[in-house]
Symmetry: C2
Subunit: 243 residues, 2 copies
DNA sequence: AGACGTTTAAATGTCTGACAAATGAAAAAT
DNA sequence: ATTTTTCATTTGTCAGACATTTAAACGTCT
């Protein structure tokens, strides 16, 4: 953990980067205790406030956790898949909303990625995954459901599909793609007819997964992608000509 | 930006979350100036240090940027795809290294995702993307190249393939998958023969992309996935029986 | 010796006040 | 009208203090 090379950014950012490098490079292993704030102040020759700001930066990235008390301090945090999910979803959602990503682009990305893990899911999905999907399909078929709840259930359905691939790295990557699109989907008004259509496709997908028919799952997902894009386009059109 | 509900975490974390919510919900639009640190101190009834720690947390996530001077302050930052790339790559790399994700799993995820955008890339790749891939192939064929440089060039090749899909959301998602695996790939010793094989596949992939033959690209990527996994497995085996 | 309560030291969390540095705007001088 | 100077505002950094939490060290009693 040597002194960072001089830069134009603030001191706390430099110190944070210096420690971050030590963590990423494995120099500071998981659960290792960092020097106390006072010691870091000495090492980097800055005040304790500056050190604290640097540590807060790292904490915001879940790179460290802090504990109070006699044996407390800052410890290198084991980044869990769950931690990473959360960050991914927040970041993806902001990216989409702040950069005016159109529905088509987001939709295309989402289904392309989802189709990537369909064959794996067809092979490895467990009874649990199938049960989750069936349960969400049942909920989606209920008449009184709000559009928001319908979307949330849709996300849950697709997450089960993705998780069925049994690859946590894939699940992590897909979490952003699938969940971040939810706000965009929420702008769609799902008519009774479109819901029926989607539920039908979901059912067919679950059936195909149960039958381990990867080809059919892929084809059905392609259908769903086309249909969803079409729904999105109709919303965009109706906005262009509101009268 | 109302006061956060009481929680067990620190004050600065609560304040950061409060502001974060305001940003994510769109309550604070991009480029909006936050109240000055002194004003935030008053609003949240905490000291300026605490406010600063909260702001540093947000800065670490690229949610805000700060500027000094009379008209300075903290501004809501437009999260760019580039910002998101960086975070994704760091997070993914840490996830892999800290959770002992095996090479097979990471490899499977990477190629599954990459194959997802192959058909799009076959349709949309520009001359630029093809030129980048050809250039990297040329570099990969040079004899004196270190394993690290070979890997770096490999990453550049695949990034060009992914970027060829012309979907920034896909590129963002894939950046983590492709780049984060580089450290794992770096542990592989690429013999002259394996390099020749890989370069051959890369050339075939570039040819197929130029011919816009999506089916062939997919098949070749499958081959490359199999071959890479095989290389990784041989490294793992030789480690088990070092004598 | 062992169990139990007390003290104590170490560490983070928070507050206060101060000064430095940057920066744009207003005021002043030319 | 233009340039220069001054000035107020805001972030960046520092120093010191106190509160709070926590586990270890210590002492006491059985």
């Amino acid at each position: 953990m040597k002194n960072a090379p001089p830069s134009e950014t603030g001191l706390s950012a430099q110190i944070a980067q210096s420690i971050r490098d030590a963590i990423v490079s494995g120099d500071l292993p998981v659960d290792e205790r960092l020097p106390s704030e006072a010691e870091l102040s000495d090492q980097f020759a800055v005040s304790r406030s500056t050190v604290r700001e640097a540590l807060k930066r790292l904490a915001a990235q879940s790179l460290i956790r802090t504990q109070r008390g006699a044996t407390g301090g800052a410890f290198v945090n084991r980044l869990t898949f769950e931690d990473a999910y959360g960050q991914q979803i927040t970041t993806s959602a902001l990216l989409l909303s702040m950069n005016a990503v159109d529905f088509d682009t987001a939709c295309e990305a989402r289904f392309a990625l989802e189709r990537a893990c369909a064959p794996l899911s067809a092979t490895r999905r467990t009874a649990d995954h199938l049960a989750t999907m069936r349960a969400e399909i049942t909920r989606q078929a209920q008449p009184g459901l709000s559009d928001e709840s319908f979307c949330a259930s849709d996300v849950a359905f697709h997450r089960a599909l993705v998780d069925g691939a049994g690859n946590p790295v894939l699940s992590y990557q897909l979490a952003g793609a699938v969940e971040a699109i939810e706000p965009l989907m929420n702008m769609i008004t799902f008519t009774a007819r479109s819901r029926t259509h989607i539920v039908g496709l979901h059912t067919a997908i679950a059936d195909a997964l149960e039958a381990q028919d990867a080809t059919k799952v892929d084809a059905l997902l392609a259908d769903l992608a086309t249909y969803t894009a079409q729904l999105g386009r109709s919303v965009a059109d109706s906005k262009k000509t509101p009268a």
